[in-house]
Amino acid sequence: MKLKYDSYYGSFGGRFNPEILHGVFTELTETFEKVKADNNFWLEYEKILKNYSGRPTPITEATNLTAHFKGAKILIKREDLNHTGSHKIDNVVGQGLLAQRMGKKRLIAETGAGQHGVAVATIAAKLGFSCTIYMGEIDAKRQRPNVFWMEKLGAEVIEIKSGSRTLKEAINEAFRDWVNNPKDTHYLLGTACGPHPFPSLVAWLQSIIGKEAKRQMIKDYQKLPTKIIASVGGGSNSLGIFQEFIEHKEVGLVAVEAAGLGVDTDNHSMRLTANKGTVGIAQGYKTLFFQDEEGQMRKTHSIAAGLDYIGVSPILAYLVEKKRIDCAAISDKEALIAAKLTMRKEGIIPALESAHALAQAFKEAPKMDKKDIILVNLSGRGDKDIFNFGDLFFDKKWQTFIKQKAANQIESKI
């Protein structure tokens, strides 16, 4: 099967907007159609990502992990090596260029883990936009280093104190801002969700990951991977790497959601797995949501802020329905163990989001043949999670340091 960028993917997607946004979405869709047909846009996009972000990102052979699990060869697509520390920079560069073409002066965005927020703040600084980032209060607390850097990069960070105080509230608030400022502002949505054309636009921009990966696999391994595994919050990194391989039926694609405290508890962020999600319409699009029988959204949970979301890309919902993608879910604890092992064995510090993909690879590798290859999309690096890791590992020395730091008088030396 081949993926076509459209407003609907099967019965998923669409555009359910308040009327006030009709004009901006018409403008955005037209601009997207234009740049999609303009090869120069893609070349400019690739060039900026090469010189500003270090693309193409390499594929690293995880030799020690492969030896440890005694099964399939484990390869890692190193999105963590991007500028700003994750794949989020791709979409942000692309939409930044789009916003320039539309003559916008201001970028707004939601962020969960803060990776998208940092990327938007970065590109706003580079391309000369003013910038406002919306972030749930809980996420701002658990990803404090990213809040700090967004502000230092010149963005205004607004913490949302209503509702579940996580990613979905940040999206609602960003939409409210856009409704107030439709003329001069572009809402730089961070994932392949939301009203058309956002799912298509973000998936298209992120497809650079899979295009690179395919070239690299053929060049360095003379074959495609047996399986590709990626974590799923909204779906931008997974669709980014999956798309190029959809038509290659022999390549297994695995989307990994957050099982949080466990598949059998109510504290998780599963929408695709185990029929936890049901079809609904919210935040401008139709997809599988974690909601109650009356259509009220339920509370999600994950140790990883970037996976802690009620909806999922309509493109993923469609591909799962068509059985082209398999899903799996990894608990908080499994993700943490996988992160620890990857640090020790490979010298790579994964983001908690990406650790979910690694954990799934570690489950599958021993069951596979040595000739098989698993390609894990390591969507981001774990620096941002230093306080989370400090707590989760219950690191005594780190905690003592934090206490001392807090007790010290703060004085500027400059």
């Binding site: 359910f16 006030i20 009709h22 400022n181 919210a282 009220q296």
Partner: protein, 262 residues
């Protein structure tokens, strides 16, 4: 069937005696259904002509902080859609001379079943529906069910709309057109000025049906300003603020002051 629906006939009839009608808004289940009953009685006695009842949703993206919070608190108290339908049945029976409409977000209708909720609305005495996140392009089933059950589907005019969009929406909207006085969400500040007058003049010409104006109406002067330029004034967030601060007595006083002169 040009403007043959109940709501537009009702509005035209009421307008013969009044220079402008008042559409008063409340969020069902906030602060609680007992208060909602008293709220509606006060609204009706103080001179409201149309009551807009919002069924709460967890993600009210077109609403500002006051109404969004009321949605959240209503749901936290356990408000269910059936409670809202039952409530509607009671108030429409108690006030048969007034018009009642529902407002909610599309997921509430979708999850209940659009055919189900529209026919239940008709049985409960509801005359119109506003669904801010359901544009006509996505609304085939909804429009068909509304037509079948004599419910007026009301669409919204925004300041950013092109003439083409205004015409499209006028074709689908029944009963009235709901014009947003300014850019933005509910509960913000609106400038009542020449620009708004010009916009409303264009709306009237294109819509050819009763025109309701909402968003940012907070005092009697705003209502005076709209006389002769609109048929209906919608008061939303302000009524919740008044109720929160001064209870039913304050709500009564506020509405009487607005109605008083007219």
């Amino acid at each position: 069937m040009i403007n043959s629906d109940f709501l537009s006939s009702y509005i035209k009839k009421e307008r013969q005696a009044k220079p402008i009608l008042i559409m008063a808004h409340l969020v069902l289940g906030y602060p609680d259904f007992k208060t909602n009953h008293e709220q509606v009685d006060v609204m009706v006695k103080a001179g409201a002509d149309i009551i807009e009842m919002q069924i709460p949703f967890s993600e009210p993206i077109a609403d500002g902080p006051v109404i969004a919070k009321a949605n959240q608190l209503s749901l936290a108290r356990g408000t269910k859609i059936q409670d809202c339908l039952d409530f509607a049945q009671k108030v429409t029976t108690r006030h048969p001379k007034k018009a009642f409409i529902f407002m909610s977000y599309v997921n509430i209708l979708f999850m209940r079943g659009i055919a189900n909720i529209i026919s239940q609305s008709e049985k409960a005495g509801i005359k119109g529906w506003i669904v801010p996140d359901l544009p006509p392009e996505e609304a085939d089933v909804y429009l068909a069910e509304c037509a079948k059950h004599k419910i007026s589907p009301i669409f919204i005019y925004a300041p950013t709309h092109s003439l083409a969009r205004l015409k499209t929406l006028a074709n689908y909207s029944k009963g009235m057109i709901y014009a947003v006085a300014r850019k933005g969400i509910t509960g913000g500040k609106t400038n009542f000025n020449q620009e708004l007058i010009e916009r409303l003049t264009i709306y009237r010409k294109i819509a050819k049906k009763p025109l309701a104006v909402g968003f940012g109406i907070s005092q009697a002067e705003d209502v005076d300003f709209l006389i002769g330029k609109a048929d209906i004034v919608v008061i939303g967030s302000k009524l919740i603020e008044v109720l929160d601060e001064g209870g039913l007595t304050a709500l009564d006083l506020f509405l009487r002051k607005i109605r008083g002169n007219h």
